[in-house]
């Protein structure tokens, strides 16, 4: 069985940083399989990195080593760490990037990375992905025991994610858009479980627009018409059939989304669609 190192970074596709990281990994063990998960995390956006890692990692084979680099603090005092869960290994700066993994699977072991024997020297100030994290990931995938890289550590830094606010009295929820994909689908932080709070049929409201169609395929809406659908990550998404919801409604990451019982809609709202 081939050992896999999977990469998630904010390095983008235009520079040669990802290519260099692959060179470093294969130079340590050319039998490893290096796989790209995503390199287009918005620069230094740890929350987006954590979300995209969460929606991807569990599809990979057990024992996969995830090399995660969204690292605004590179070269400063922030630590680099290894997280071992039941099924996987993660190598990352300790800045919250692994928060959502830890939410789902309590850590089996955590190590700081301090053993310079595994680093590429001379160490750069700006590219620890190349000089520290990539070689460590390659060595883990090649079977080096974790205690060789540094000392045990109790917990990882956590970051706060946008939370869903529940108003039980008014039976309404307040969420927001947390990601937007290439098709203009707007991923919210609302799940079906959240909706269960409101026992009646619901509508989503944003920027003065209201969408009441909760669909089970894009084709249920007319061409260029909006719908809400449970997306592939389990979150509610605002979409437009054969079009871009982000463009049509000018939505962005952070745009607030309100969920209301369908019958509570303001009857005077003329922009209902």
């Amino acid at each position: 069985m081939k050992k896999i190192v999977a990469l998630l970074t904010d390095f983008g596709w235009d520079d040669n940083y990802v290519g260099i990281i692959k060179g470093v990994i294969l130079n340590i063990n050319s039998n490893l399989q290096v796989v790209d998960i995503c390199h287009s995390i918005n620069p230094q956006n740890i929350i987006q990195g954590a979300l995209r890692l969460k929606s991807a990692y569990s599809y990979f084979p057990k024992k996969t080593v995830f090399l995660c680099v969204v690292d605004p603090g590179v070269g400063s005092k922030r630590e680099a760490v290894i997280l071992k869960t039941k099924d996987y290994f993660f190598v990352a700066p300790d800045n919250g990037l692994l928060s959502l993994v830890v939410d789902e699977h309590s850590p089996k072991e955590i190590y700081t990375i301090t053993n310079r024997r595994y680093f590429i020297e001379p160490l750069s100030c700006t590219f620890h992905g190349r000089d520290i994290l990539a070689p460590v990931a390659a060595h883990i995938a090649s079977g080096v025991p974790l205690h060789r890289f540094g000392k045990r550590k109790e917990a990882l830094k956590k970051i706060a994610l946008p939370k869903v606010i529940v108003d039980h009295k008014k039976q309404c929820l307040q969420g927001q858009i947390i990601d937007i994909d290439r098709f203009g689908n707007c991923i919210t932080n609302l799940t079906e479980k959240d909706l269960a709070v409101i026992k009646r049929k619901v509508s989503l409201k944003f920027k003065g627009y209201t969408v009441s169609r909760i669909a089970s395929s894009y084709a249920e809406a007319e061409e260029d018409q909006p719908l809400v659908i449970v997306g592939s990550r389990g979150y509610l998404e605002i979409s437009v059939n054969n079009g871009s919801a982000a463009k049509k409604f000018n939505l962005r990451i952070g745009t607030p989304i309100k969920v209301l019982p369908k019958d509570s809609l303001n009857l005077l709202d003329k922009r209902d669609i």
Copy 2:
């Protein structure tokens, strides 16, 4: 010999969809080699997907499994299918994406994909690339016989491609631009064979401009000057030496292209270049 799964999708490079698909494939068989053909098909553009698949697939090793996902009808009643040709396997939604493959190689076998045993559950509404097509492609590449995935089927859905119109009397052809690449080369749907209809030397006319130089290298035109060349896909392409034809002449996919005998050009046309 390593088994290959080659990917052609409209998922783009910015999201983690392609990465997730690779995780699914390698989770089924980590010895497979996953190769990217193209992920930048314009969203839901089946014709462009069919064209780019056509110009690429025959360069791959025999037995390659092509996983093709341009799927505006995901979650609706459209079927997912397996096509077996003499040399290759294709897994795709049945929406015309494989039209040009079937034009070149008549199907040996076609199957619908219905056996949920090979699906990832719970099935999402929006990402059958991950939940159905990717696992099926991985299982085919791993040797699972095709009849296990569903029932035989006689024919695939076809889509109509922009055709070349021939005016034998006036000895002229009417084609169009069907793709534009990174360099601004504008690929037409005209081939050398089409030109043979006109026995004399020809000119290409578009948007009031005329290009008469049919070149055999970009360097035959002066810097920043236009030429027509038989491109790597066998189609005539409008190019600019060390520049972008698309930008210089403001050309787009769909722009009409006229081919005329060279001596028939309107002598009053002052924009000849």
Copy 3:
């Protein structure tokens, strides 16, 4: 040990050219590992290609075959060549793309590529990356001896790179920006060694701005404030902590950079930051 073919091209990620090249390579030997270094070299920009190759190749395993395609002269009389250095093989058009490799490692052997037995026929006019360079790279990685591909050759074409100008009298240096990355870091052609000429502390001056902070991590500057740092390629880079220096100061490839002793700064310069 797995044999690697590493790709550096100006083909971009949007077309299927890179995918086709991978098909060609794997069709010759499906056990090769194909790795992307960079495909976003600005179209036909040989200097940028040479720089990005230089900063990446030495991280790869020995015996890696580098397939380098930035090829404005494709189809014209320019030669295609194989360069063998102590550790690596390079396959490229002979247009200066390998200049910086040769600066670091004198060639062991150079061959022209002329043996059509290894080409894909019919040869296209526009895509020798697919028809000549990719198959030759795959055959080299598979062990075919270099003399089979063509004749020995003495030297490669060189291109001139932007040089640092030293004014010993005024103790100042004149360099320029040679690359800009996704984060807006502006890579100059100045190294620490260049700075040693000036014995005192220095400032960098560009477009009327002056940056005096030579930092060892981004975090040493305040949020959104500029700094100069020795980047991962060994060159001085102008950066902004958690921001884009390119955007903030409107810098481009080619923008001149002046290095002055810190105490020589014009005291009247009010834009010092």
